[in-house]
């Protein structure tokens, strides 16, 4: 299997007052292409920070984070933007849909940045909306959508460019149980059909039941790394 993400002794410290807060402490992990994995742990355990580093929104203070063969710390702003634009999709807890755009335009956005021709764009957007069952909502604005629909648009927006990696930060935190399951099923299907690597940050039990691999974090350290629920990979 192709190793798509490799973290080696990654440490992330943030300045707090006169000192530092260590959000990630010497984490070494790797993920293969097509994994459906997640970071779990209490608030402040470093889940989101890890996702941000993998998503090249942040860089490690120490250690090396390699994503698709690229050293995150050494990427220029332009190169990290390119990496995100073409290969990494994000799903956020509060959806972060662009409020003045329609559902179609929100999903289309990443393809506009990639300069995809209009016809191809339209087809790709409608395909993505079909994956999440929202083709009929294409002309609606985000404020007209329910929470579940909003998160499904976010999934479509993240998936429309068919990224290699999809990073989901607490994607079900603002959803009811039924919507959470629906979303997770959709993501699982996309993972299987498109081979996209899904990485979650969550402390939602529902999400954990869907994960093929669970990396537990506490105080910035990996405390367990479990495959297929019972198979322990690394501690």
């Amino acid at each position: 299997m192709e190793k798509i993400i490799s973290l080696s002794h990654v440490t992330k410290k943030f300045e707090v007052g006169d000192g530092y807060f260590t959000a990630i402490n010497d984490v070494s992990l790797s993920f293969n292409a097509g994994e459906f994995a997640g970071f779990v742990g209490p608030s402040g355990s470093g889940k989101t920070t890890l996702l941000n580093i993998i998503g090249s929104l942040d860089s490690p203070t120490q250690g090396q984070a390699m994503v698709m063969g690229k050293d995150i710390a050494k990427l220029s702003h332009k190169d990290s933007a390119k990496l995100r634009n073409f290969h990494i999709g994000f799903i956020f807890q509060v959806f972060n849909l662009l409020p003045v755009y329609t559902v179609f335009e929100n999903v289309e956005f990443a393809l506009l940045l990639q300069d995809v021709p209009k016809d191809e764009r339209k087809k790709a957007v409608m395909d993505a909306l079909e994956w999440v069952g929202l083709e009929s909502m294409a002309s609606k604005r985000p404020d007209k959508l329910s929470g579940g629909e909003g998160q499904r648009v976010a999934i479509a927006r993240a998936m429309v460019k068919r990224p290699k990696i999809l990073l989901a930060d607490e994607p079900t935190a603002n959803l009811d149980s039924a919507n959470a399951h629906a979303i997770l099923k959709t993501m699982k299907t996309l993972n299987k059909e498109l081979g996209t690597t899904f990485l979650f940050s969550t402390h939602d039990e529902k999400v954990m039941t869907y994960l093929d691999r669970t990396v537990s974090l506490k105080d910035g350290k990996v405390v367990s790394d479990v495959m297929n629920k019972n198979q322990k990979v690394k501690a």
């Binding site: 929104l57 702003h77 332009k78 933007a81 956020f92 972060n96 003045v100 940045l113 990639q114």
Partner: protein
């Protein structure tokens, strides 16, 4: 760039009222700047044209000793001329005199001008001599000061070339209305030959008005003052007005730009999550800065559009119909018509457009460049201060 403008357009249209308030104030400033400067340009153009048509023509050829700013120079400021030597010039003779309207005495400049001249717009055709009286024309300011009406007679006293006083009634045959106060106040115009005969200064003049075809060659005892020099005062007044116009221009623009600047500062602060999302979706920081700058400059494009739609009919109407000013402004000493027709030249319109667009872009860029230093993680959380 195209993407920035496409997205900026969507963002502005999506922002609704906020956009239209900014566009409205910028369009208002744009129209007001055009109106104010157009009015000044119209006034300036009219003042110059009226001065040329009513007073100075294309220059004055003066007797060396004549100083228009020194009334004492008038007495000796006359010289014989050969009309054949000055075919393109209109002679004017000035003498000091007094009139006695309704028992009062007023000192005046008595000016003689050929009744058949066409160089100046003075209605000199009314100065055809009649038996027993001297026809005279005066301006409405003079008429008001002397309380004289058309058809009224007034006693005129003058000195001939030997210094002997003479007196005779003149009849006000015409009261003309001119915007140029300097050919009106304290002056009475009569026929040149009449004045020459009255004063014994046959074939003499104080100065000549040149026409367009006149090309000056040195004349002994005469000094030529060209049109530019004669318009010097007006040009200086125009320059002063232009300074005040520019201040007004900048103030109006500053108010409008302040609104855009304020919106941009607020946008960068309020739209942090959006900025973080743009970056997460793959935009470079430079692209985001470009997008916000494009949004700001697009306000100016939309303002131009709104300004054209709203302003074009209003300004066109004013340019055709003119704007009337109360008669009281006539007495201000500045050449000012009772109705001014604003002039909206292409230079003014294009210059204002370019200035508004460039300055709107600059004030949009200033807050937006903060985005370049933004931490996208903090922006996504909306935690930046």
């Amino acid at each position: 760039m195209k993407l920035a403008f496409t997205l900026a357009y969507k963002n502005l249209m999506g922002a609704g009222l906020r956009t239209w308030l900014n566009v409205g104030i910028l369009a208002f400033a744009f129209i007001l700047i055009l109106f104010y400067n157009g009015l000044l340009d119209g006034w300036n153009q009219q003042a110059k044209l009226d001065t040329i048509n009513w007073e100075i023509g294309y220059g004055e050829l003066r007797v060396d000793s004549y100083d228009p700013y020194d009334p004492f120079s008038i007495h000796d400021a006359h010289k014989e001329y050969n009309s054949e030597a000055f075919p393109m010039l209109t002679p004017i003779l000035i003498r000091q005199a007094s009139i006695y309207p309704h028992g009062r005495m007023l000192s005046i400049a008595l000016k003689g001008i050929p009744s058949d001249q066409t160089q100046l717009e003075l209605p000199t055709s009314f100065l055809t001599p009649e038996k027993g009286t001297i026809p005279a024309i005066i301006g409405k300011r003079m008429a008001e000061a002397a309380k004289l009406n058309e058809g009224e007679e007034v006693l005129l006293r003058w000195r001939d070339k030997n210094g002997t006083f003479n007196a005779m009634n003149v009849t006000i045959v015409k009261i003309f209305d001119s915007d140029v106060g300097s050919i009106d106040s304290g002056q009475i115009w009569i026929g040149l030959t009449q004045l020459q005969a009255m004063t014994g200064l046959s074939n003499e003049a104080t100065y000549f008005i040149a026409n367009k075809a006149y090309s000056h060659q040195n004349q002994q005892g005469w000094t030529f003052v060209n049109q530019d020099k004669l318009l010097h005062n007006i040009n200086e007044i125009i320059a002063t007005k232009k300074v005040s116009g520019s201040i007004m221009y900048l103030m109006l623009l500053a108010i409008a730009l302040l609104a855009i600047f304020d919106t941009q500062v607020l946008s960068v602060f309020r739209r942090q999550k959006e900025i973080g999302t743009y970056i997460a979706l793959g935009m470079t920081r430079r692209q985001v800065v470009g997008l916000f700058t494009a949004e700001g400059s697009m306000y100016s494009f939309l303002a131009m559009l709104v300004g054209t739609v709203v302003g074009l009919p209003i300004l066109s109407y004013l340019a055709i119909k003119g704007i009337s000013f109360p008669d009281v402004t006539q007495g201000m000493g500045v050449t000012m018509a009772s109705r001014i027709f604003p002039v909206f030249g292409i230079q003014l319109i294009m210059g204002t457009m370019v200035l508004v667009i460039v300055s709107a872009t600059i004030v949009s860029f200033l807050p937006a460049k903060k985005i370049a230093n933004m931490n996208p993680v903090e922006a996504l959380k909306g935690k930046l201060q």
